[in-house]
Point group: C2
Chain length 762, copies 2
């Protein structure tokens, strides 16, 4: 058990490392050479141009203005200053709502922390249960926790009362937030300009007709069943092979550019390469000629494949994007059942064009059900048995195993210092590698499940990751043993025994989780803002691949909020906060600092860095809400279990009510708000339709929609963002409230419009 001093030392170390990251970030971001790493969003929006193209030679790369270094912390207030409507307009609703999760954390935990310190800490401190036990080493942290209250003490009434107050407050905060987010979403949808997905419905499982082609069949079906509303449709081609070929050509082009750059810099020697595996094996050839020939070959193949896909009726999949004359017509089609056989003619809202996951559009109904079954079994095994293959790898990856596989390394390995390093690190490496590839595994599993949009893939992967964290990080840290051993134990314990077993260990693990919060939360978030990997990758690409402005734009990796991995991690902090709120309140300030710090950092990131791949309009909020509800129920059950071991018999009956009320609250919120995230009300559709008819009576909708849902490989230009969105972003509905600032070191700023990046230099 760590004492308060130990915790303070750990806090100091982690606070210092976080501060170091922040200072490094503040230094790096001021260098013009890193401008594209730390402000890519403004480049992508076309507001900021390249600082390297103009100015003095040295100041092109290094910032020489000492004043700016003194104001290095200025980015924080700048990140907080942008008002929310402008933020939504600038970064999209998804990002704006995402940072609200941190805000919700603050809203829930700041009052709880204040109350817990005002009431629970004195109540716990003024006992002497721990002092009375002989031969027990305890720390000052434990003196502040519920462990210090003797069994059967009437003081537990205070803890029960606080549990109720904390629950009520959490419900209130959750309800209010759900309402705010639902309103934001409805307002966002109402304010949006014309977008293809507003008129379009994705139809899947089109039945095959012996007399008609797929496209004719679709047209006839919708002409008959939606006679006044059907406008046009776009069948889906199976272009997976073509997409692979296009990717291949792009990567060959990259290599060609690399060798051409190399040749330009050193014209005396033409670069060579080998034709075999990774350019290591095979015969040596002239690199530029080789890749030029290769590209030509694959371009021809690509053209042939393109021809084949377009002409072969077998490459048309039984799915289509059907567009309607009005939003009302599309809303009707998306929300109704079309056929009496509910496994054909399945309709749902079309995702945004850039949100479509093309590979999954043509999976038949029965196959989908089987895939879901297989994936749920796999998920179960992944969560509870993932240690099995890792232990096998670990047992094989020892000194003797390596010696067998690569005998020529034997002398090196036998060296004592090397041996100890290998023995120390190897077991950990297998686990680390697994944890690194875990999000990819989960995403692959979601893809196999057959989801049709990137946003839903992200949401489903997040749900899987949340389960993994819950079982393996939270429960795994509290109870020793692998997840499977836990499961085995739980199955052999009674329903009332499980919360007791876990609950009893809760106070003892407080210091561990405090350290975890500081390492993973504080330093992790601070590391996020430095963007080390994109920084290195950008400079490598910039050196070897970039020739034109367009290349440089492509080398820039803005990244995006990774909902699938980061949201479940936030949920762990909600869970820890709720579980420890009534048990060990000392943990709460660390949670609050995490939420506050993350809020600032991510607000900065979404303003200056991230470029979202899609805009789902915050459809993930019901998931966030549900997981906080799960955390709350877990917290209530564990407190119940803990109290029942403390000989507070009345407590079980009193606490039993809380999980049920929480469950009911969840159902109530679901009924109240959920449909705002899944359905599009006819009234709103009608309002937008009417408005549009009045303002643009002669708009050619058919032409507008014709090309919207074409597989990206068929488009001449890259499908980065559809026209309509750009239109809107260039003409924001909310006028910016910030003044234009001219910055000396960045000459490009002079041509910036009214929106400028957040800069500390003013």
């Amino acid at each position: 058990m760590a004492s308060l001093q130990d915790i303070a030392v750990a806090a100091g170390i982690n606070g210092f490392s976080a501060l170091m990251f922040l200072i490094i970030f503040a230094m790096l971001r001021l260098q013009p050479i890193n401008d594209r790493v730390y402000f890519p969003k403004w480049y992508l929006k076309g507001i900021r141009a390249n600082p390297v193209t103009a100015g003095k030679t040295v100041s092109k790369f290094v910032n020489l203005d000492p004043n700016m270094y003194l104001k290095f912390w200025k980015w924080m207030p700048a990140a907080l200053n942008m008002p929310e409507p402008e933020l939504i307009d600038h970064a999209g609703l998804d990002s704006a709502v995402y940072v609200r999760i941190y805000l919700l954390g603050l809203k829930i935990f700041v009052p709880i922390t204040v109350l817990a310190f005002a009431v629970l800490v004195p109540v716990n401190w003024t006992n002497d249960a721990l002092q009375n036990i002989q031969n027990l080493t305890y720390s000052s942290i434990d003196k502040l926790s519920i462990s210090n209250v003797p069994s059967g003490s009437p003081r537990f009434w205070v803890h029960i009362g606080m549990a109720y107050i904390f629950s009520f407050w959490t419900w209130y905060a959750l309800y209010e937030e759900y309402q705010i987010v639902a309103d934001m979403r409805l307002h966002f949808i109402a304010g949006e300009g014309r977008r293809p997905d507003q008129y379009t419905v994705l139809v899947r499982n089109v039945p095959l007709d012996p007399d008609e082609s797929v496209t004719e069949h679709i047209e006839h079906f919708f002409c008959v069943n939606h006679p006044d509303h059907y406008l046009t449709h776009q069948v889906v081609y199976n272009a997976n092979t073509l997409a692979a070929l296009v990717d291949n050509v792009r990567s060959l082009n990259n290599r060609l550019t690399y060798y051409q750059n190399k040749y330009e810099r050193n014209p005396k020697r033409r670069p060579k390469t080998k034709t075999g595996f990774l350019g290591i094996l095979g015969s040596t050839v002239d690199a530029i000629d080789h890749y030029k020939a290769e590209i030509e070959k694959f371009c021809k193949e690509e053209a042939a494949e393109r021809e084949k896909v377009m002409s072969d009726p077998n490459s048309i999949m039984p799915a289509a994007f059907v567009s309607f004359k009005s939003r009302w017509g599309a809303a009707v089609c998306a929300q109704t059942t079309q056929s009496s056989n509910p496994t054909i003619w399945l309709t749902e809202w079309a995702p945004e064009p850039r949100d479509v996951y093309w590979d999954n559009l043509a999976i038949p109904y029965v196959k989908l059900a089987v895939r879901r079954l297989v994936i749920s079994f796999s998920l179960f095994f992944l969560v509870f048995f993932f240690m099995v293959p890792i232990s096998i790898v670990q047992s094989m990856a020892n000194i003797e195993g390596i010696e067998k596989v690569v005998p020529f390394l034997k002398p090196l390995i036998r060296e004592k210092s090397v041996k100890s390093i290998i023995q120390g690190f190897l077991p950990g490496i297998a686990l680390k590698l697994f944890l690194i590839v875990l999000p990819t595994i989960l995403m692959t599993m979601s893809k196999i499940e057959g989801l049709t949009s990137l946003s839903s893939l992200d949401r489903k992967s997040a749900a899987k990751f949340h389960l993994f964290i819950l079982v393996n990080v939270f429960l795994g840290s509290i109870i020793t043993g692998t997840a499977f051993q836990q499961l085995h134990k739980f199955l052999h314990q009674s329903a009332t025994e499980i919360p007791k077993t876990v609950g009893v260990s809760i106070p003892m693990k407080a210091t561990f989780f405090i350290t975890y919060i500081m390492v993973d939360g504080w330093s992790g978030i601070a590391a996020e803002i430095v963007r080390l990997t994109p920084l290195v990758v950008f400079h490598l690409k910039n050196t070897f691949l970039v020739k034109t402005e367009k290349d440089r734009k492509e080398a820039m990796d803005a990244g995006s909020l990774d909902f699938a991995t980061s949201e479940p991690r936030i949920q762990l902090y909600f869970l820890l906060g709720l579980v420890y709120s009534a048990v060990t309140p000392v943990l709460l300030p660390f949670i609050v600092i995490f939420f506050a710090f993350s809020y600032v950092v991510f607000r900065h990131q979404i303003i200056n860095v991230y470029d979202q791949k899609y805009e789902s309009g915050a459809t993930f909020w019901p998931d966030v809400h549900r997981r906080i509800i799960i955390a709350l129920i877990i917290a209530q059950l564990l407190l119940m279990g803990l109290l029942s071991t403390k000989k507070a018999t009345y407590s079980t009956y009193l606490m039993m009510l809380l999980p049920f009320l929480t469950m009911w609250f969840h159902l109530f919120c679901k009924g109240r708000f959920n449909s705002a995230f899944t359905e599009f009300p006819l009234q709103d559709a009608m309002v937008k339709d009417t408005l549009e008819k009045a303002t643009e009576p002669n708009f050619n909708l058919k032409a507008y929609l014709e090309e919207a849902y074409i597989h990206p490989v068929f488009k001449a230009v890259e499908l980065d963002r559809p026209m309509a969105i750009n239109d809107e972003e260039n003409n924001p509905l909310v006028a910016t409230t910030r003044n234009a600032v001219v910055v000396g070191t960045h000459p490009s700023h002079e041509d910036g419009p009214k929106q400028v990046p957040l800069e500390p230099e003013e």
Copy 2:
């Protein structure tokens, strides 16, 4: 433990009592005087007229043809002969599908019984585990059960294999039946004539508007949001007080008729009554004059209330039946979200006019959620604590308690014989009374929950009753102690321990359940067909109240299938059959006889007796399916528990897969078929609309719908069945395949059309 002989004796007794009921039934139904008790359906359809009105004097009341008595069993083949399409046409889809539940029972259990007797009985019989245990009395039944297989025997592989085969067969039968019922429903809906509910949507939670009345607000909203489809609407009046007054007048009329009849038969003495409580207390008055005056008084009150309801804007509730120009328009409105606030403008399919439960139409959203919470808590307490009030009543209702309350009965009670009767019966009476009123309590709870149609009330009550039977009849019989004690025990046992505890007791309870099946199943069903209560009530009413033909028609109580209580009872048999299929196969033939016998009896009843109050188109099938799935999962878990105590360690892992597969099968079926029971596909709506437009281009739909959804008390005539249904029934789509039969003793048959009652006399 009962031996095979004991069981055979019990079977003999119960079989004999069932046979006696059948013979009594066969005798009674041949008497013309009972014709309206045993063939009310044909009277209600107008096909059969009164046999009492014509013929010889004696044969008006008693059947004197000896031939007919010899053929008394002929009703059975007659009941089975009517082909299903004709049955649907004659009795409605609800009834036709209801008897298919029994058919499904046969389909599942006949092959299982054959297989179990061919494989499991020999496997169990040829062991000697029971013989090897000293000091154990065992019966021949146990020799046939799994108890006779010694622990750790490899023969358990056979039981596990059989459990898999039984589960696969049950899935197959369930899947096929779901498909058949879904097809029947779709076909039924497609074949239906015009009905008001096809065009109508029930709108609830209409928001209040300060500037408009409710009816204006509704009209404007739908004119704007469904401009091409909205036709008309009918607001809902709060007519609960008025309905009570109308009921009161009707009951006073009954009494007046009674006294008038009495006076006519004995004109010398004018009947008297007392004005006070139940005609016992108060001053004596002339009965006919008194009731005439009373009726006049209440009629005036009724008229005033009627006036008030029609004119007072406060009696208009924020709900309405909105009708559309086409089925397509109604289908769209019923399936879509109307407003961005999902707690207002809630739309759902309107129930049939006679299916509407008027009292619940105006409950706001938040109140509904609170009511549901309260009811679920109440249901929990009712199921687990219902013994508490009963024990209190039992402890009070003893000899001393009665002496205190009614001291003048003291000498009588002190009599030894009376005393022993009271002591023997009293404790049971409280429980019996509770069980009799239980369905009413459950129905009241469902009404409080706020459901808007009688069919959904029936379904919800059935779900509650099913839970009660599961906990208190099934588990309560297996494990001793009250439900609450069981719950307490389960909460303190591990998840793996619970199936073991229950599973171990399963084989021991086989004889108990065999007796239960014979008493409740065999004799109970045979008693159903005699219709003792309606028989007595009809003859009482006929004697005292009937004056005109209309009176006689009203005195006839056809009754109806009581889904809320009878379906959960069938589910108990499914559960018993599935649980015992692999444990004690001897029980299976009793189940099979129950299903076969019930099938014949209920098929007879729905053809000749029952008159359904509503037609929901078999919307209850998903519930039936789900509960059989629940029974299957319980059976699998209990077998797993039982096997794990038999030292068959591999069994747990092998059996664990089954519940998960069953769960998945359920989800698959739900996705595949459920929407056929909840949604109305646009394609089908369009087909019917188009057909109708072609055949009746000038039909005045508005006039047709205007009066359809008016509260019954506002209608001049009784709302028994809407016009459209009668139309259809008189012109059946399926031509009858049966020949008209002229029956001597029933002269009225001569005017019968092509459809005639099922008679054994040919």
